[in-house]
C-alpha cells in the first residue's frame, strides 16, 4: 500500500520555493538599498 506522505511533499516544496523567493527578494532589497 502506498503511504500517505503528502504533508512531507508540501513541506519539501515549501522549503525549496520559499527559499528561492526569499533569495530573490534579498537581491531586490539589496539592489533597492543601493539606489
Amino acid at each position: 500500500m502506498t503511504p500517505d506522505t503528502t504533508s512531507y511533499m508540501i513541506a519539501g516544496f515549501a522549503v525549496i520555493f520559499g527559499g528561492v523567493i526569499l533569495y530573490a527578494a534579498s537581491l531586490f532589497w539589496r539592489s533597492k538599498r543601493l539606489k
Binding site: 502506498t2 506522505t5 513541506a11 516544496f13 522549503v15 527559499g19 528561492v20 533569495y23 543601493l34
Partner: protein, 229 residues
Amino acid sequence: MALVLLDGLAVAATAFALVWVIFFTPREAVMGDVQKVFYFHVSAAWVGMLGFLLAFISGIRFLRSRNADRDASGLAGVEIGFVFTLLAIVSGSIWARPIWNTWWTWEPRLTTAFVMLLVYAAYFILRSSVDEWEKKRRYSAIFAIIAFASVPFTFISIRLFRTIHPVLFGSGSGGDVFQMTPRMLFAFGLSLAAFTILFTALYWHRCLLARDQENARIEESRLQWEEEK
C-alpha cells in the same frame, strides 16, 4: 529588456514545472507523494553545483585578468550555489524522514554535501575578513578554485562508498537505482530545465548587484578622499 524576458521565462517555467510535477506526474508506489520532492531536490543540487563551477571558472579568469567583474561573477556563483545547495540538503532531509525514518544520517552523500556547504561558508568568512580589495579578490579566487574539489567528490561519493542514498544514473555502491517511467523522466527534465533558467536569471541579477555595489564603493571612497582633501 532581455533580463525582464528571462525573469518572466524563469517564473513561467518554474510554475509550469511545479504544476506538472504535482498534478500530471505519477505517484511513486513505494514512497508516495514525497518522492515528488526529488524533481526539485535534484534540480536545486544541480544548480548549486553549477554555481560552484562558475565560481571555479571565474576564479581562474580573475587570476589571469585581475578584472573585478570576474570576482563579481565568482561571488555570484558561490552565493547562489550556497543557497541552492542548502535548499537541496534541507529538502532531502524532509524527503528522508518518512523514507529512512530519520531527518539525517551521516552517510557518504549527506556528509560530503554538508562538508561542501561548510567549505563554501568559509568563502564568505574569508571575504569578510580581508579588508584590502585586491587581496580579498585574489584570496577569494584561489579559495573558489581549491574549494571546487569538494563538488565532484560530493557527486561521485555515492559511487565510491556504500550508501543508502539513491543513485540516479548508472550503478552505485549499495543505494537504490531509480527506475523512472517516461512521464517521470519528462517531469525530471522539465524541472531541471526550469531551475537552470531560474539560475541564469538569478545569476545575472546577482552579477548586476555586485557591479552596482562596486560602483557604490568606488563612489564612497572618492567622496571620502575629497572630504579628506
